[in-house]
């Protein structure tokens, strides 16, 4: 197991390098000019100097190498400095956003809590809704509950989040006026009343994402339970007189959770990607919204870093899913 983990970790390095190269080369083709916003009265030689100050004068491979150094060498140092109060990164150039001329990672850190709250909450909630539904509808296959449950999960899986989000806004904000349609990030939770306000503004984006996730996970849970319910060991467990509750909730559930846990781990990066749309619908200024605004503003360092962070999440969670699978299922041996 350990050698497998180490081998996968080593293999992840070229994968990540390749992905960052792909993103970088794609962005090199960008037609926009970062100097487009500079007034026309600025003489061309000054513009050329400004362009060089952004690091655009160097050849492509040098630019790529510099980005790699900044992202993988300087930024961790900044993080260490921030935690331990040391000064490793002093005087070193960090990845700078072209829009704000401030370090990209600082902006990412500012935006991260909103995304984590909304996305994280919705995923936890989605899993909590999905598991009982999946278990019960597999246990009572073809019952009314199962029919309704599979239909609802099919609908939840098919209706795109940008429609459910807009629909909820029309119903609950426009017609009923219960919840605000815009997520206010400056809102601070200090007492009970402000907590209620925070809850009200979070409920719609969280529910939209949670329903979508729950639909997918409950389908997996149901299928996995159905696979296990007909196995011989279930008959054995019943035959030796175990209670129905023990059979289903201990024996079957444990075995059915193995693939579901990996699906849950694999779904995390996709949820971050999908949150781009939900954040746009509810005007949450999280990472997804940051990506869209920086794409529109041609802020290449920002787009590069954000896309790479999304790729990093995918690679990390793939690794976690593989390792979890090996740990949970003793039949799987990678070596």
């Amino acid at each position: 197991m350990l050698t497998f983990t180490i081998r996968r970790l080593v293999l992840a390095v070229p994968t990540l390098l390749f992905i960052s190269l792909v993103i970088f080369m794609l962005l090199q083709l960008a037609p926009g000019d970062p100097m487009a916003q500079v007034p026309l009265t600025v003489p061309p030689e000054v513009k050329e100097k400004m362009r060089e100050a952004l690091g655009l004068g160097a050849p492509v491979h040098i630019q790529f190498f510099k980005w790699l150094v900044q992202f993988f060498w300087v930024e961790p140092q900044v993080l260490i400095d921030h935690i331990f109060g040391t000064s490793f990164s002093e005087g070193q150039l960090r990845v700078l956003s072209w829009q704000t001329r401030s370090p990209v990672m600082d902006i990412v850190v500012q935006r991260l809590p909103q995304t984590l709250w909304v996305v994280g909450m919705s995923y936890v909630l989605g899993v909590m809704i999905a598991l009982p539904i999946g278990i019960y509808s597999a246990y009572r296959q073809y019952s009314v509950f199962d029919q309704v449950g599979t239909f609802v999960s099919m609908v939840g899986f098919s209706v795109p989040t940008f429609f459910t989000g807009v629909l909820l806004i029309v119903i609950f904000s426009v017609n009923l006026g219960w919840f605000p349609s815009i997520y206010d990030t400056t809102h601070k939770v200090t007492d009970w009343d402000s907590f209620i306000v925070q809850l009200q503004q979070m409920i719609m984006p969280v529910m939209v994402l949670a329903l979508f996730n729950a639909a997918q996970i409950s389908r997996f849970m149901r299928a996995s339970m159905l696979d296990n319910l007909n196995q011989d060991y279930v008959r054995t467990a019943r035959a030796k007189g175990l209670g129905e509750k023990t059979v289903v909730l201990v024996h079957v559930l444990r075995n059915s959770m193995i693939p579901v846990v990996t699906v849950i781990a694999l779904g995390v990066p996709q949820v971050f990607g999908g949150a781009i749309i939900t954040e746009q619908v509810f005007k949450v200024n999280g990472l997804g919204q940051l990506l869209i605004t920086s794409i529109e503003a041609n802020d290449l360092p920002m787009v590069q870093t954000l896309t790479f962070i999304f790729a990093l999440l995918i690679v990390i969670f793939n690794l976690i899913a593989d390792i979890l699978y090996g740990i949970l299922d003793p039949r799987i041996r990678y070596d």
Binding site: I19, S158, P160, F162, L167, I276, I277, I292, V303, F310
Partner: protein, 304 residues
């Protein structure tokens, strides 16, 4: 053996495989309904404009923001364009983008899957490429691709064809990976079967082997991923249009209509409803169709 001989002779003629599949498919009520609804949507969207001849781009500013009436069954938008005509025109684009992108992804996926499964030398490199593609963050990359290539393609093919090519290609080359994996797995198993050995022993070439013996046998997973591919392509296109990075405003798609309607959500909520319902219903029906097809084409489930 004697038991077999003593049994009465079968009176019904043997049934073909496709007949069995159709019977299983028919018994899946959701799949049948999904198929009918999807066909209805496609027919409405493509034949409808011949019957309802209003021009979806005709601007009649005096009759803007109207509710449903006999002259405009779904009302008009903020520029007085007929919503029914726009819905049908939008549907044409959305459905054609979905089907074309699915075909492209299917072609790429089957090609890579068959190549990787059939030729052992290519297996490693092709599957590593597939893994790399699976590790790419797709939605951000799609957004970047649309942003980058919109201008040059618009200049080369005109705004409508340019963006159509761009979106279809972008969706196609970012969604072939699941098909490739499934097809490779099936091809690997098929390659060891006796009929492949038999075919090889009479001197069948690789090309004939793939087209005559391998491909027909991996049709069922390909067909299932085709239906699921249409659904995801339609959702991706709508999502891109909804983020404002898809088709231009005078060239409606369902996602674009939804995006435009969000600005008028407070006054005219029904305008959000129609395109959203259309997208959801199409995707739902296609997903049910895929579910039914998967059950019908799986010989282990069939006949139960």
């Amino acid at each position: 053996m004697t038991d077999l001989i003593n049994q009465p002779m079968p009176t019904t003629p043997p049934r073909s495989q496709w007949r069995d599949i159709w019977d299983q498919f028919k018994s899946h009520r959701g799949a049948l309904l999904g198929g009918i609804v999807f066909l209805l949507i496609v027919v409405t969207v493509f034949i409808g404009p011949l019957l309802w001849t209003a021009d979806p781009t005709f601007i009649d500013i005096r009759s803007r923001n109207q509710g449903p009436s006999w002259s405009h069954p779904l009302g008009t938008d903020q520029l007085g364009r007929d919503m029914l005509a726009r819905m049908m025109a939008g549907g044409q684009t959305s459905v054609s983008v979905g089907i074309t992108a699915m075909l492209l992804a299917l072609f790429l996926g089957s090609l890579i899957g068959v190549m990787a499964g059939y030729f052992r030398k290519l297996d490693n490199i092709l599957m590593r490429t597939t893994d790399l593609f699976l590790a790419l963050p797709l939605l951000p990359l799609l957004l970047v691709m649309v942003l980058l290539f919109r201008e040059p393609l618009n200049a080369a093919f005109g705004p409508e064809t340019g963006i159509f090519i761009l979106i279809v290609t972008a969706i196609g080359i970012t969604s072939w990976m699941p098909t490739a994996r499934i097809v490779r797995g099936d091809v690997l198993a098929l390659k060891e079967r006796e009929f492949v050995l038999a075919a090889r022993s009479i001197g069948t070439t690789n090309v004939r082997m793939i087209t005559r013996h391998i491909l027909p046998n991996v049709m069922s997973p390909i067909m299932v991923s085709a239906t699921l591919g249409i659904a995801s392509a339609i959702i991706t296109e709508s999502a891109l249009s909804f983020l404002g990075l898809g088709f231009p405003p005078d060239f409606p798609t369902w996602g674009r209509l939804l995006f435009d309607a969000v600005d008028y959500m407070q006054q005219f909520p029904e305008r959000v409803l129609w395109p959203g319902l259309a997208i959801s219903l199409t995707v739902l029906s296609v997903n049910y169709l895929g579910d039914g097809l998967r059950d019908a084409l799986d010989p282990r489930i069939r006949g139960r």
